[in-house]
């Protein structure tokens, strides 16, 4: 591997991919502000950054999905235009997304040959034997050990990922971009993936590795480039940085307290169970480690963790939307089998993560979205809507939540993201919940709507609602929560007073793998 400080000539010679001064804006917002990035042959190069730092935008530029970027891109020192996905593929760039581009009913061999099937009689006939043999031959040198004749549908995440890698390599990709490849892998699959990544790098493939797991970056990559607010803040050899350095660069927190980064498990101090409004006792979702949690009225408990760490599943299980084992108590009363309907009657409300997909009926009006949950309780009377009361309550809520436009009849689909989110919050508040589950309540909303949402969350807590706040936004977690629990790979850690964290230590805590945490606790 080339060293960081080697001469410019040597570096230029080895450059597989070179990005210079890349700009990209969405409407008037500049997301990439002149990014320089280069990838050498045989290198595993980590690209890290917070949500919104611009790393997925940068990846999409390289994969040809944004034709309107500005700046220059060179492959093997030859200037190229990556304005379409085909241009990227022609330049031997392959992206492995988290949701794979595979045909589930096809075998691995057929997926490897996808769109490049060998044909006879001018491509009319498809010789299946030839296809399988060619796929096998194309990936033989990489020793990937994928079951060629198995339909992809029957493979796990690791198998699908390996199929995607095989598909990319069969097309002779030289630049492999992997977006959070380990997020859904078991530990041994992760080790296996790293082995293969190293072998591919040794054979000259350049890998751009996007991940939140800082310890994995430390383990597998050669170089790290850190993006913050659309600009590169650091690019250096991995061995020159430790995890706390990376966390500090990510957050921009200058006064990081490395010494304060004590293991999470030490800081357990459960509150008295007696006054809890919501209690989870050995509450296990999908056979994951059992979670124990107690929420007091008026308390905000933050749940931090990476994408895919099981936070949303936990919230949905509390709501009864997915099955779980263990005990769930509301006000000391154990609830047997919980369903979303029962949860609503017991006073549990949820503001789901994806507004458009699971939160709102987009064609329906602000009013009908808002009254949805409360219709089952005080706004309904023997199946009829108490329209006079509802109108009053809705107009009041539109004022209180500062929803614009102030038109109860406006379809929610026409609102901005922030206002749509306020409608969801208002719906939850109108249900007068005892427990409110918030899943990424401010994802993708502007700063004004965000502070407004924060104000409403605090106001709800002051009226005695217990809030479980799932968020990727560290500042949000730190400023709103009374206590914070970190979730790693389905395991809910101990609930700890927020004062024990700052941005860097919280980030470090959620970026560790669970084995590392355990190893440290031992």
């Amino acid at each position: 591997m080339t060293e960081v400080g080697s001469s410019t000539d040597l570096r230029r010679e080895n450059h597989l991919l070179e990005l210079r001064n890349i700009h990209k804006s969405f409407s008037s917002v500049e997301v990439l502000k002149g990014v320089d990035f280069d990838l050498r042959q045989g290198e595993i190069h980590a690209l890290i950054g917070h949500n919104g730092a611009g790393k997925s935008t940068l990846i999409k530029v390289v994969s040809g999905l944004y034709p309107d970027y500005s700046g220059s891109i060179a492959i093997n020192s030859k200037s190229v235009d990556l304005r379409t996905p085909h241009a990227a593929a022609d330049n031997q760039i392959a992206v492995i997304y988290q949701d794979f581009a595979l045909v589930p009913e096809f075998t691995v061999a057929e997926n490897i040959a996808l769109g490049r099937e060998p044909g006879r009689l001018g491509g009319f006939l498809l010789p299946h034997g030839d296809l399988r043999r060619r796929s096998e031959r194309e990936i033989a040198e990489f020793e990937l050990d994928v079951p060629l004749d198995t339909p992809v549908r029957h493979l796990g995440v690791a198998g699908k990922q390996m199929t995607e890698i095989a598909k990319a390599l069969a097309r002779r990709a030289r630049v492999l971009i992997m977006d959070e490849p380990t997020a859904r892998l078991a530990p041994h699959e992760r080790t296996r993936l790293f082995e293969i990544m190293r072998r591919l790098a040794a054979s000259g493939v350049g890998i751009i590795y996007v991940s939140h797991f800082l310890d994995e970056i430390k383990e597998v990559t050669d170089r790290v480039t850190v993006l913050r607010d659309g600009a590169v803040v650091a690019s250096a050899a991995t061995e020159s940085m430790d995890i706390e350095d990376m966390a500090r660069l990510l957050t921009g927190d200058e006064k990081t307290m490395v010494s304060a980064a004590r293991p999470v498990a030490d800081k357990c101090q459960e509150r008295s169970i007696g006054k809890a409004i919501l209690e989870l006792i050995d509450f296990s979702v999908h056979g994951r480690p059992p979670a124990n949690l107690a929420l007091a009225p008026g308390e905000i408990v933050g749940v931090a963790g990476l994408v895919g760490s099981g936070r949303t599943s936990l919230a949905r299980a509390i709501l009864g939307d997915i099955a779980a084992s263990g005990t769930l108590r509301i006000d000391g009363e154990a609830i047997g089998k919980i369903t979303p309907g029962r949860a609503a009657r017991y006073g549990i409300a949820m503001v789901p993560e994806d507004r458009k997909l699971t939160g709102l009926a987009l064609q329906a009006s602000i009013a009908s979205n808002m009254e949805l949950t409360a219709l089952g309780t005080y706004l309904g009377y023997w199946g009829l809507v108490r329209r006079d009361l509802a109108c009053h309550v809705i107009e009041d809520a539109i004022d209180r939540f500062r929803i614009l436009p102030k038109d109860p009849g406006r379809p929610v689909g026409h609102l901005s993201g922030g206002n749509a989110q306020k409608v969801l919050m208002a719906r939850a508040a109108l249900a007068k919940p005892k427990v409110l589950l918030l899943d990424q309540p401010t994802a993708g909303v502007d700063i004004g709507a965000k502070s407004e949402t924060h104000r409403q969350i605090r106001a709800l807590a002051e009226t005695g609602t217990a809030v479980l706040l799932i968020s990727d936004d560290l500042d949000e977690l730190l400023s709103l929560s009374d206590r914070i629990a970190v979730m790693t790979e389905g395991a809910l850690g101990a609930v700890v007073d927020t004062t024990n964290f700052n941005r860097s230590t919280l980030l470090a805590a959620i970026s560790q793998n669970v084995e590392k945490c355990r190893a440290r606790a031992d």
Binding site: V103, E105, H154
Partner: protein
């Protein structure tokens, strides 16, 4: 490490065998039900096991079998076609007019070309305009029916020569000619899906449209051709229909779309696309056909037939869907 991975692929293999067995099982189950229905009918229903009846059974179900083969292609692609009935009626009327007035070959060719053209129109609306298959084919169905009624003033077209009914009523040995045509179409469809690149792409687009597009497959063209074939098959079925009646009847074939979808679905092909086989469609067609035949022979009111068909569809698809739902929950 390799040991761990082998363990994994062992697991995958075991799961695969389990699932394959289940799939085979369900196909065998369908075959077993068909055989059971056949045996029971042979023992209990008078006149069932006669050459005359069996030949009649084959002849009557071959037309819907041809339509179902086209429907299968569109269902594998992730869509379906509600216009096949209108296309069948139109082809049969057009063939009647030309056979009576000009010549038999021209009548047949024109009927097939019309079917292909309407199928391509369906494909165009779905692939290029972006209308959902339900609405696109419903619209085309209503349009074609309307045009047909305008052109004929809803009057049947007579004058097809007696010789033409060989196509619908003739036999080679004891096999009705429609059945031989159905067999040829089934075989051709099977080969198309099994051996051609186009067939492979039909499965690919039905399985994951985005993956197909990202892999450089011309999804629009595959869609266009698939619906074109569906229309062509329906046009052919219209010609065979004219061969059985000898009259170009504008109001005929209205039950084709739902009967064909029913045959495919009872055969165990999900409407979600990406999977399916001709064998299942043949089984589904004849299962529904035998049930109708038994009801006819036993003198049960013909009004019972749709009701019983409905029950068969719900049970056959319900068992499958319920298992899937259970599997998805765990």
């Amino acid at each position: 490490m390799t040991a761990v991975l082998n363990g994994n692929s062992d697991l995958a293999r075991r799961r695969r065998i389990g699932i394959t067995r289940l799939v085979r099982h369900s196909q065998f189950a369908l075959l077993a039900i068909l055989v059971l229905a056949f045996v029971l009918a042979s023992l209990l229903v008078p006149y069932f096991l006669t050459w005359g009846n069996l030949s009649n059974l084959l002849q009557r179900n071959s037309i819907i079998g041809i339509v179902s083969c086209g429907m299968l292609l569109m269902i594998i692609l992730g869509g379906f076609d509600l216009s096949v009935g209108a296309v069948g009626a139109m082809s049969s009327v057009a063939a009647a007019a030309l056979v009576a007035g000009v010549s038999i070959p021209l009548g047949i060719v024109a009927a097939l070309a019309l079917g292909l053209a309407v199928g391509l129109l369906n494909g165009f609306c779905i692939a290029k305009v972006g209308i959902t298959p339900f609405v696109a084919t419903l619209g085309v169905e209503v349009l074609v029916t309307g045009l047909l009624f305008i052109a004929t003033s809803a009057e049947p077209i007579y004058g097809v020569p007696e010789s033409f009914t060989t196509i619908g009523l003739g036999k080679i040995a004891f096999l009705p000619i429609p059945t031989l045509i159905f067999a040829a179409i089934a075989l051709a469809t099977w080969a198309l899906l099994r051996f051609t690149t186009f067939g492979h792409y039909v499965f690919m687009v039905g399985g994951n449209k985005d993956a197909a597009r990202l892999a450089g497959v011309n999804v629009d063209r595959v869609t266009l051709v698939t619906y074109g074939l569906g229309g062509l098959y329906a046009g052919l079925a219209g010609v065979v229909l004219l061969g059985t009646t000898g009259i170009g009847q504008p109001a005929s074939a209205t039950d084709w779309p739902l009967s064909a979808i029913a045959a495919v679905v009872v055969g165990g092909v999900p409407l979600s696309g990406g999977v399916g086989s001709v064998g299942r469609v043949v089984l589904g067609t004849f299962l529904l056909g035998i049930i109708a035949n038994i009801l006819n022979l036993t003198g049960i009111s013909p009004y019972w037939q749709p009701a019983i068909t409905g029950v068969v569809i719900l049970v056959a698809v319900g068992v499958d869907s319920y298992q899937r739902k259970r599997a998805g929950r765990d």
